[in-house]
Symmetry: C2
Subunit: 388 residues, 2 copies
């Protein structure tokens, strides 16, 4: 894509967002979150993007603007040195006495919001995150190209895993092998997640019972981690014969990511694990087949639960005591994008959505099994992007 | 330390915190942040710790409690399934009609705070983060033991770096070498940072001009990173002869961390860089010597600036256009602990504080030089914990 095509894509994104601003009768939006900034402006500096209901957005950046200027779609980038300059800059552009603004209310800190309120004392604030997250669900051709690249790099990692793991290795030894190989392929070594979680590992390696141990956040499988303040990810436990090994990694090569999980058995594992693993694959196939335009996210979840129940495994589906409450999620710039494949979710699938579908079963004392791939929604169902 | 000593230490932490709650006439505090939870309860699940002004704290955890129960100092841990159960549980313990509560207002999200307000409609909220951060500044014997362990592991990493880097390698190749070796030694592969930053790498490798490129957060040196949404850390740029290479890594082996930076020269670098590097070491020595009980954090910063000015290098000290605004910071469970060695900071140093002191100079177009070590404040000044 040439420079003009690049700008055209961002112009379209902004116009679709502006349509929502107008419907909500907002006088503009102040965007601060890195992934949202990147989506609307092509760069993610510490700063604020003001999106008026019409016309080009303006990017305010703290201090040095050189880097942001280089990357940003909307120029010139305006340097500011403190919060107080935000309303002054907006006034310079003709935006004065603002009464209705939007921002990312789902993730804004109380501190930043209080500052916004003090800066715009007469302003009423609306949450524009649902609008942005909805826009971001459907990926463009260039976004899909980036996601396909991450998928192809991540496929090499999972091939490497298959060839290099063996029972007797510790989870940490396996994690180091995986992460080193992935980093050599350009993996960022971290992953963007919407919200306050900072303790997030880029992946989980969970051997045997560690696939079922309690975790710090409400996901199916978080692993045991190395210590109390880092209670997720690999531990120093060995993968023993007779145990499943769950390997779940986000693949972040560039700005876009994929999510993938594979489970490996060391020798003969308990029959129920083997059966659950087969059922997980069946559920994944059914969901991919059913994930057509017009289907809702909630219907996919219901279908997964129905199959788990028919297999007599509903109690173990997506966790045992505390269940994850979803069987998949959108991915793109962040790991937890929309839609969420969860009970009652009415989001209707559209071509171009990218979904991680991850049916898993958790057996207390024994471990976790299942599978996760990242798929592209098409007219003919969801097509897997991840492999290996 | 035996189990009783362990509990005794936590009891002391809680009692000191409770003293502050009583001074502020609070009826209790609701703690949610992982590092604060870990500091006061020994575990960091998704949940809330209620600390009354007197008596034992109570830990409320979402869903599975097994893991939290195992780690927590305060038992029994109470399982909850939603926010709404918080006031009910507190009422069960006799805490009803609460009018004045504390929480971590520096970092709480608007969303969580709004939920708290809805749950306790008659309650006035106070920020207790300054109290907790102040308490956490002075480390106990067991905390120092953990920090010394991280320092000794990190020393091995920096020895490895010295032996394995050479001009011509890319920043990413160097980062992979460093991170792989560190992970093999038990490095968590991530670092706890107070606040909303999730794009944080565990370290920066910056060759030549990349030491001076713009970054996403207001630190001295962030590196260029691999792409727009991950604008910090190593890039694919090669370290060329005649250039400085800055390597700055947090060392997180267990729950406690150290922070360390070294700069390496490939052959002969520009005179001014060489001189600035020598001045940085002189400043570090002076600050360590001056960091005695009774000195303030602001005085240390002023001393550093004075020496930079005397050397004629003030313009480049701690950044060039946008300066970091500090020359050091506390470390412990998080990378950005108190005190901050910044202008006017009145925090008085005490024995047992652990400080990263990091005088650095940034030359646009040329790169960054400097040094960083983690020190323990003693009666005889600050003693380095990191080495190599």
């Amino acid at each position: 894509m040439g420079k003009e095509g690049f700008k055209e894509e961002y112009r379209l994104r902004v116009e679709l967002f502006q349509k929502r601003l107008k419907e909500k009768e907002l006088e503009g939006a102040l965007i601060f979150q890195p992934a949202d900034l990147f989506y609307l402006a092509g760069t993610s500096p510490e700063g604020h993007l003001f999106v008026p209901p019409e016309g080009e957005p303006r990017l305010l950046v703290y201090g040095e603007v050189e880097r942001a200027q280089e990357e940003a779609v909307w120029n010139p980038v305006v340097p500011i040195s403190s919060f107080k300059e935000i309303p002054l800059s907006l006034a310079d552009w003709g935006f004065k006495g603002l009464k209705r603004l939007g921002t990312e209310m789902d993730i804004i800190s109380l501190k930043l919001f209080s500052r916004y309120q003090a800066l715009f004392p007469d302003c009423q604030w609306e949450d524009i995150s649902p609008d942005l997250r909805t826009l971001r669900m459907v990926k463009s051709a260039s976004e899909l190209e980036a996601i396909r690249y991450s998928a192809s790099q991540h496929a090499k990692v999972f091939q490497y895993i298959r060839e290099h793991i063996r029972p007797g290795m510790t989870e940490l030894e396996i994690a180091v092998e995986v992460e080193t190989y992935a980093r050599r392929l350009g993996h960022q070594g971290r992953v963007r997640f919407r919200g306050q979680e900072q303790g997030l590992p880029i992946g989980v390696v969970a051997a045997g019972p560690n696939g079922a141990c309690g975790i710090g956040v409400p996901w199916t499988i978080g692993g045991r981690g190395l210590s109390g303040l880092y209670p997720m990810g690999a531990s120093t436990r060995r993968w023993e014969t007779g145990e499943p090994l769950l390997v779940d990694y986000a693949g972040v090569y560039g700005d876009y990511l994929v999510d993938q999980t594979r489970v490996y058995f060391a020798g003969q594992v308990d029959r129920i694990l083997e059966r659950a693993q087969a059922v997980a694959y069946e559920i994944a196939c059914s969901l991919a087949e059913a994930a057509r335009p017009g289907t809702t996210a909630g219907e996919l979840y219901a279908l997964a639960v129905k199959q788990a129940r028919q297999a007599g495994l509903a109690d173990y589906f997506m966790g045992w005591d505390r269940k994850a409450g979803f069987v998949g999620h959108g991915v793109g710039l962040e790991l937890n994008e929309w839609p969420v494949l969860a009970p009652g979710q009415e989001t209707v699938l559209e071509p171009g959505m990218v979904l991680a579908i991850e049916p898993k079963f958790v057996f207390p004392g024994q471990g976790a099994v299942g599978v996760e791939d990242t798929y592209l929604v098409t007219q003919e169902g969801a097509k897997p992007l991840t492999q290996g």
